[in-house]
């Protein structure tokens, strides 16, 4: 039970900050539990939603008013659903959940459009307009002078995920494949010793099994944690570079 609780804690911790609002949280719950949007089990949703609100409090995250508003809407729907069904013609009575369903569907549409926009933008950022651009906001700078952007874990995970999705790099693994993270750490260190610095993608040039891929990634995280390497990005969506960290050596 305790175990279960802490697992939920971790799960909540990971998710809470990434919700854009109560509708986003509800959509997540609906997808996670494979709920039929047109037949939402309101008690289940109320319980799960409440669980997240409590975790927010436990984690000292300010619970924004909009979450409380949604909680009260859910409760009122639940209350209305518990009312006895009138004997008379029910065709005029709307399902109390309908309003919520419409809100969710509408929100979901804009959320998807926003994801599409994000993809368009990423693609646009990889295409450069012809130079000599008088109103240009692009400044020309050589790599050496560049201010490199330190990378957050999320971007690193995203980069790994993007690579993993390029299926041609991944070959199926054998059952009970054994992978040694220590060996992967040595691999990364050798790679850096040979090249001085290296691009993130070049760590994964060889075709790997999913397990080996993950192990290499964990090894990379471990080296970052031990401050033996530094990871920087040139620009948003630019190359991710890995550098040995001289100060971090020998400890």
């Amino acid at each position: 039970m305790n175990n279960n609780r802490s697992e939920i804690d971790i799960r909540c911790r990971v998710h809470l900050e990434q919700f854009e609002g109560p509708l986003d949280l509800l959509l997540y719950l609906i997808k996670r539990d494979e709920i039929d949007i047109y037949d939402i089990p309101i008690t289940h949703v109320v319980r799960e939603f409440g669980l997240y609100l409590n975790r927010m409090k436990d984690l000292d995250l300010a619970v924004a008013g909009e979450y409380l508003l949604m909680a009260s809407l859910l409760m009122s729907i639940k209350a209305r659903m518990l009312l006895p069904k009138p004997e008379v013609d029910t065709s005029e009575i709307e399902d109390p959940r309908m309003e919520l369903v419409e809100m969710l569907i509408e929100y979901q549409r804009y959320k998807k459009l926003s994801e599409k926009l994000e993809r368009k933008r990423e693609e646009q950022m990889r295409q450069f307009p012809k130079g000599a651009y008088p109103d240009s906001r692009i400044s020309m700078k050589y790599v050496q002078e560049q201010e490199l952007i330190p990378l957050d874990t999320y971007s690193l995970i995203k980069a790994a995920w993007d690579l993993l999705k390029q299926k041609n790099q991944i070959i199926p693994g054998e059952p009970r494949e054994k992978i040694d993270i220590g060996e992967r750490i040595t691999y990364i260190q050798t790679f850096l010793a040979e090249n001085g610095r290296g691009r993130f993608v070049d760590l994964f040039v060889e075709k790997t099994t999913p397990l080996k891929f993950v192990a290499t990634f964990i090894a990379l995280l471990e080296l970052i944690k031990q401050k033996k390497i530094r990871v920087h990005q040139q620009s948003q969506f630019g190359n991710i570079w890995i550098y040995p960290n001289p100060e971090g050596r020998g400890d």
């Binding site: 949007i37 926003s114 307009p129």
Partner: protein, 221 residues
């Protein structure tokens, strides 16, 4: 002696233009009958570039044409160029932007209610970065500001024209409910026309079961 061609004129105009040049201007300079001719010649030029393995294409962006390098060469250009002006857009800002793009001009209360969350901060940042603008005020109590997207928005996202994005009416076609898990029932058509429940469809309404204890065992899994 170089032969001057219509295609060449168009190519030269777009090549030398400092910012996206409109089909209208190109058509008038190159003495073309319609703006559509510009479109087809640009397509032809792009086909030639592709055939010859060139690293650039002409793209329609923010209502005009401009040369752009193709995506494949981004990592190499990234070694020289750093675009510091690129604004960082959060997921909240992208959501707000989607709503404004589709429903413009639109007020903050409408945006807030679709998102179910306050959008004040996001709108403020988008205004600051010039991605959205105030298009006027609504003639209603409180006279709230109405927001719309700018030309910079189109440039930032590589959109040729705002009509490239779905309108409010088209949105359901673009993004249906296919993402939601809908259990297969004996009568699947029951769910198909659910979004608009007509009064006559008594059957549908009856299918909503009101549980006595509120527990639903069907979807636990």
């Amino acid at each position: 002696m170089t032969e001057v061609t219509k295609n060449g004129i168009i190519e030269a105009l777009i090549f030398s233009s400092p910012s996206p040049i409109s089909a209208k201007r190109i058509a008038s300079i190159a003495a073309l009958e319609s703006e559509k001719d510009v479109d087809s010649i640009v397509d032809l030029l792009n086909t030639q570039y592709e055939k010859n393995g060139r690293a650039f294409r002409i793209r329609k962006i923010a209502g005009g044409y401009q040369f752009f390098s193709i995506v494949a060469y981004a990592p190499y250009i990234g070694e020289i160029f750093v675009d510091r002006s690129q604004p960082h857009l959060t997921r909240a800002m992208l959501e707000v932007l989607s709503i404004i793009a589709v429903k413009q001009p639109v007020t903050k209360p409408v945006i807030d209610s679709i998102r179910g969350a306050d959008s004040g901060g996001s709108i403020h940042t988008l205004l600051e970065k010039g991605i959205v603008t105030v298009k006027g005020r609504q003639k209603s109590p409180g006279r709230p500001f109405m927001y719309a997207t700018t030309r910079d928005f189109l440039k930032l996202f590589g959109i040729s024209d705002i009509n490239e994005l779905p309108s409010e009416d088209e949105l359901p076609e673009f993004f249906g409910e296919e993402d939601f898990h809908i259990p297969q029932l004996d009568n699947p058509e029951e769910f198909e026309d659910k979004p608009e429940i007509a009064d006559s469809e008594v059957e549908n309404i009856d299918n909503y079961e009101i549980q006595e204890d509120g527990e639903n065992t069907e979807t636990n899994g």
